[in-house]
């Protein structure tokens, strides 16, 4: 338990889905690089998702698993001929296990210039309560 509190977010990479429900051709799926740190507002997660817009971004919390899925929309005209390639266009998928002290109700996220920022506020801890011991 202490260990889990220490590392409030544990990364867990999911295997990419093999078939797309829309029948589209299989696309490359990347694990985006992330930064995770503590801020006064809570834990902050930053993920690089170049080419993903707010409309194509899905962020889901189920139980204590946070999953981010960003679909990249191609900006290349179909008639373009590739001369030189250093990166592939593709979708981004990554999942994290949240610790129990993250307040799920107050999680906020925004996407700006291809970077997703998720703020995970800590749930207020219950104040220590003295338990009176009575003798009979």
């Amino acid at each position: 338990m202490a260990e889990e509190t220490q590392t409030a977010v544990n990364s867990e990479i999911e295997s990419p889905p093999n078939e797309r429900p829309d029948g589209a051709k299989e696309r490359v799926i990347f694990t985006p690089p992330v930064d995770i740190y503590d801020s006064p507002e809570g834990l902050v997660l930053l993920a690089d998702l170049p080419g993903v817009s707010t409309g194509s971004m899905e962020l889901q919390i189920q139980d204590n698993k946070l999953t981010l899925l960003g679909r990249c929309q191609s900006v290349i005209p179909p008639e373009a001929r590739l001369l030189h390639k250093e990166y592939d266009e593709g979708d981004f998928l990554r999942s994290f296990i949240l610790s129990e002290d993250v307040d799920h109700e107050r999680i906020t996220a925004r996407l700006n210039n291809g970077v997703l920022e998720v703020v995970l506020p800590r749930a207020p801890r219950a104040a220590p309560r003295k338990i009176e011991v009575k003798s009979e």
Binding site: A80, Y87, G114
Partner: protein, 152 residues
């Protein structure tokens, strides 16, 4: 460069072998096949009928912090990605993203209209449109017969 080895009696295959060798030797690769060290930012380059299109992945850059210059066939991209400022004690539980200043120069493939280069930046993807100059079309050069013993 022989790539197939057959027995001596296979004369027809030897012909095929020679043909394949000739084909392979005749191929020229427009891009050097030796990969250089991975550079930042990654760049893709496309050709369209009227322009070259350069795209680059630059998540987290503010468009105002992006500096593009083009001169003498060299396109230079410069930028800076700021580190998060609200981290407590600058401690990171995970640190996989790159921050800091970077610069990269690219030789533009052919003559382009440098004064008409334009760029847009959306969702962390930079697109630079490099319109082709009309003089990149083949130009006939007239050969004038000169005096062989004329001045050099």
């Amino acid at each position: 460069m022989a790539i197939f080895r057959w027995g001596d009696s296979w004369e027809t295959f030897r012909d095929l072998e020679r043909q394949v060798d000739r084909l392979l030797n005749g191929l020229t690769f427009p891009i050097p096949l030796i990969r250089v060290e991975r550079q930042y930012p990654p760049i893709n380059l496309y050709e369209l009928p009227e322009e070259y299109l350069l795209t680059s992945e630059l998540p987290g850059i503010e468009p105002a912090e992006l500096d593009l210059t083009v001169a003498n066939g060299i396109l230079t991209l410069r930028g800076k990605r700021a580190a998060p400022t609200n981290a407590i004690d600058d401690q990171f539980r995970r640190h996989e993203r790159i921050w800091g200043a970077w610069e990269r120069s690219i030789a533009v493939p052919e003559r382009i209209r440098e004064d008409e280069v334009r760029a847009d930046f959306q969702n962390g993807i930079l697109k630079v449109h490099l319109p082709k100059a009309p003089e990149t079309r083949p130009r006939q050069i007239q050969v004038i017969a000169g005096n062989v013993e004329g001045e050099m």
